[in-house]
């Protein structure tokens, strides 16, 4: 047996005090396999040791929440016996190393999280953050990530319906790839991971196990010194074809009542799936690794337990149902093997070649995992200079902003994703939220991902709250009722007190907004230690939101639809230029305070706007966010190919008015008489409202004087991405 040295402990990412705790829990020196199991189960990724204490403060309950955080994905009730199941997860580091496979396996992993609960995935979203466009790696990473997401999602036949992309230098050495999957199931046929009961067969299904993804650092022990580089690939390769078969086979098995528990083998594969299933079921698990389907010869127990080979699941079946399950997996030409049994010992016992290589209490891997109350150092939210050159042309600035990297059309990306397969996509990418019909019904889900990292940097609390508020607005703007969110918290190194404060304040901001908006958090994922040259990324707490449209024919889209509609802004415009796109793109400064979020106002304005859409009185709506009011109007004009003439009499400062990023605002357009009634009703409800002008023509006319053609705005808006990407690029082979 390999002796455990301090170097090996360190290489496994365990601190001295953590190793001491392991010795205490085990009452002896762990074996190498046990050390490996501890190292992954106690990792930040699996244990949430830096954030667990704070995540507990998030609101997770509502009458429609069927399953909150703690399972593979969260579940909400959407009426008629239907449930929506969703989660968002990061695959940041692997995507930086190998963008195609990193992004592809991220997509595959999050889909498994959703279908392991009995849902058929119906929509994918992704929130992507890249370094500056001028950074030499950026184009290669964008190209690889986008083809990886498309390559996997398209092959699965699940539409990728939207997402968001930002560029910022803080991501130069650490891109973010957050993928979200939404699935549908029947509320009374949801599958969980609790391996209850003793004596039940533990079965392995899917692809064979290879040496994928076993991290180099954790391999640095005497036993592996002779291993060649080829023996330890750290990049997992995705196989969407196998995953599609796995999806169909799992759903077929789930139509029977043979399953007690099922869990995807994600990060830390066999280790985390078996430990978590045993933990949740209050049982023990005994595994015989000789029975594990293996892709490579002479794999060690350590390698098998830590392999991150993709497209695999672990399930516990009712005794006697193995043959029935095996027949389904054979039909789909997938591996199936009974590799263990549940016990009543509450221990994880692993055998290999007739030898016990690990025997450890399961609670040591879960309840006893370290939790840290890491120190944090608050800093004053950013204030400062929001001055600007008053002489600049509003329309010239508008055109420049529409063509800025963070604002330009993402068409180049979304046309590489099959966004209409499954034939239920009602709103394609490019709107405020994607809308996907619940198959065979007239209701639909609205889906969005949001966060404004520059706000979160200036003020982590407001940034967290704003991500939730924007998600709420985006769902409202299509006519949906926001129901629940999944969060993907991407931050820097939590051992730095100033970063830990960004995390704590961000979670507090998310919690406060979710509580006020009745928009609970039903799942999520943390990705910490994201840094470029020792500098943390912009705090990026991405929020994936899901809402419900009871009747998909009562829906709004961004595009102007008629000539002569009155353009109305709901919500007050004070002209907040701090941290605005205007200040950054036109004045070249990332300055000033983040806009403040008032959740009560968000709710009031949201309910008002949603009501108008639900009553079929408004079919044209856009939330006001990045870039401000004029950008919102311009996007509506570009979308519909219809111009508008807008202005406000006696405006003292046009620039903050048109480009300020005050929150809780929407632009709507409605025919004249309806618009009159809407304005009256808003005033009666003490909602700030103003008519900006009328749609019509093919130009955007400002204050009856200056104008720009919609065609020119569109060309600027659509041109940036393809121009940026048309630089030299060796094509992906996939």
């Amino acid at each position: 047996m390999t002796a455990i040295t301090p170097e090996m402990v360190k290489d496994h990412g365990l601190s001295e005090s953590e190793y001491q705790k392991i010795l205490d829990l085990m009452g002896r020196t762990p074996t190498l396999v046990e050390l490996g199991v501890f190292s992954v189960m106690w990792s930040e990724h699996c244990s949430y040791k830096s954030t667990r204490a704070h995540l507990k403060k998030l609101p997770t309950k509502a009458p429609w929440v069927l399953q909150g955080p703690g399972e593979n994905a969260g579940v909400i009730d959407i009426g008629d016996g239907d449930a929506a199941i969703f989660k968002m997860e990061s695959h940041n580091h692997p995507s930086f190393i190998e963008p195609y496979q990193g992004a592809a396996t991220g997509v595959g992993g999050i889909m498994r999280d959703v279908f392991t609960m009995g849902a058929r995935p119906i929509a994918m979203m992704n929130a992507l953050r890249f370094g500056e466009p001028s950074h030499p790696k950026t184009r290669h990473l964008v190209s690889g990530v986008v083809s990886g997401i498309g390559g996997y999602g398209n092959c699965m036949g699940v539409p990728t319906v939207g997402g968001e992309v930002n560029f910022h230098k803080s991501y130069n050495g650490n891109i973010l790839v957050n993928a979200m999957c939404v699935g549908l199931a029947k509320a009374d046929n949801i599958f969980y991971s609790a391996a209850k009961g003793a004596g039940n067969p533990v079965v392995y299904i899917g692809s064979k196990t290879g040496r994928d993804g076993i991290h180099g650092a954790t391999m640095a022990s005497a036993e592996f010194d002779d291993a060649s580089e080829e023996k330890r690939p750290t990049v997992q390769v995705g196989d969407p074809f196998t995953e599609k078969l796995l999806l169909e086979a799992c759903l077929e098995l789930m139509a029977t009542d043979a399953i007690i528990a099922i869990q995807d083998m994600g990060a830390a594969g066999l280790t985390s799936s078996s430990a978590e299933m045993g933990d949740k079921g209050g049982s023990g698990i005994e595994l015989d690794l000789d029975k594990v389907p293996q892709r490579e010869a002479n794999m060690t127990a350590y390698e098998m337990m830590l392999s991150e080979s993709q497209e695999r699941m672990l399930a516990v079946l009712k005794p006697g149902r193995e043959a029935e399950a095996e027949a389904i997996f054979k039909k789909w030409e997938l591996d199936f093997a009974v590799i263990g049994v549940t016990t009543d010992t509450r221990r994880l016992v692993v055998k290999h070649k007739a030898e016990v290589v690990a025997d450890m209490p399961i609670t040591a891997l879960s309840d006893e995992a370290p939790v840290y109350e890491r120190p944090y150092q608050p800093r004053e939210p950013k204030g400062g200079d929001v001055s600007f050159d008053k002489s600049k042309s509003v329309l010239a600035s508008l055109k420049a902003i529409l063509a800025a990297p963070d604002m330009a059309s993402r068409r180049w990306i979304w046309e590489q994703y099959d966004n209409s397969v499954m034939n239920d996509t009602v709103q394609h990418p490019g709107g405020d939220a994607a809308v996907v019909r619940v198959h065979g019904s007239s209701k639909a889900l609205a889906i969005t991902t949001d966060v404004t990292p520059r706000y979160a940097k200036a003020d982590p609390y407001q940034g967290g709250a704003q991500a939730v508020a924007e998600s709420y607005r985006n769902i409202t703007a299509v006519g949906g009722t926001p129901l629940a969110v999944t969060d993907n918290l991407n931050y820097g190194n939590p051992q730095k007190p100033e970063i830990m404060w960004e995390i704590v304040a961000g979670i507090d901001g998310i919690g406060a907004a979710c509580r006020a908006l009745d928009y609970p958090v039903i799942g999520g994922n943390c990705s910490l230690y994201n840094e470029t040259n020792g500098e943390g990324i912009l705090p990026t707490p991405a929020i994936g939101g899901v809402g419900l449209l009871k009747d998909v024919t009562k829906m709004a889209t961004v595009a102007f639809k008629r000539q002569g509609d009155v353009v109305i802004v709901i919500g007050e415009t004070k002209g907040h230029l701090g941290q605005s796109i205007y200040l950054r793109e036109i004045e070249g400064r990332e300055d000033g305070p983040a806009p403040r979020v008032d959740p009560a106002l968000e709710k009031k304005h949201g309910d008002f706007v949603r009501g108008l859409i639900e009553q079929s009185r408004v079919d044209t709506c856009h939330d006001v966010s990045d870039g401000g009011l004029l950008v919102a109007v311009a996007e509506m004009a570009i979308g519909g190919g219809i111009g508008a003439s807008i202005g406000v009499a006696g405006l003292p400062e046009p620039i903050p008015f048109w480009f300020g990023e005050d929150q809780a605002r929407y632009v709507i357009a409605a025919p004249f008489e309806e618009a009159d009634r809407i304005i009256e009703e808003a005033r009666a409800a003490y909602i700030s409202v103003a008519a900006l002008g009328k749609t019509g023509g093919d130009r955007l006319v400002l204050e009856d004087s200056n104008s720009v053609s919609i065609a020119a705005l569109k060309a600027a808006h659509e041109g940036w991405f393809p121009n940026f990407m048309s630089g030299e690029e060796i094509p992906m082979t996939n």
Binding site: E728, E729, I730, P731, T733
Partner: protein
Amino acid sequence: MKARVFVTLKNGVLDPQGKAIGHALNGLGFGSVGEVRQGKVIDLELNETDAGKAKAELKAMCDKLLANTVIEKYEIELKG
């Protein structure tokens, strides 16, 4: 017996991928690069010791599945 099959596009069939690779190589400063054509390599292990039989079998495999002879040509290499 081991075999390696090379599948490439027939001459005259446009190869946009090869063209893009060539363009990229030129862009990287490899000015000597002219036309580039790309293809794929398939390694197979055969339970067959007779080289003639193996070759005939491989040819059948190529015609039936490994290559699309409307647009692709193939070469077979036997190793040991």
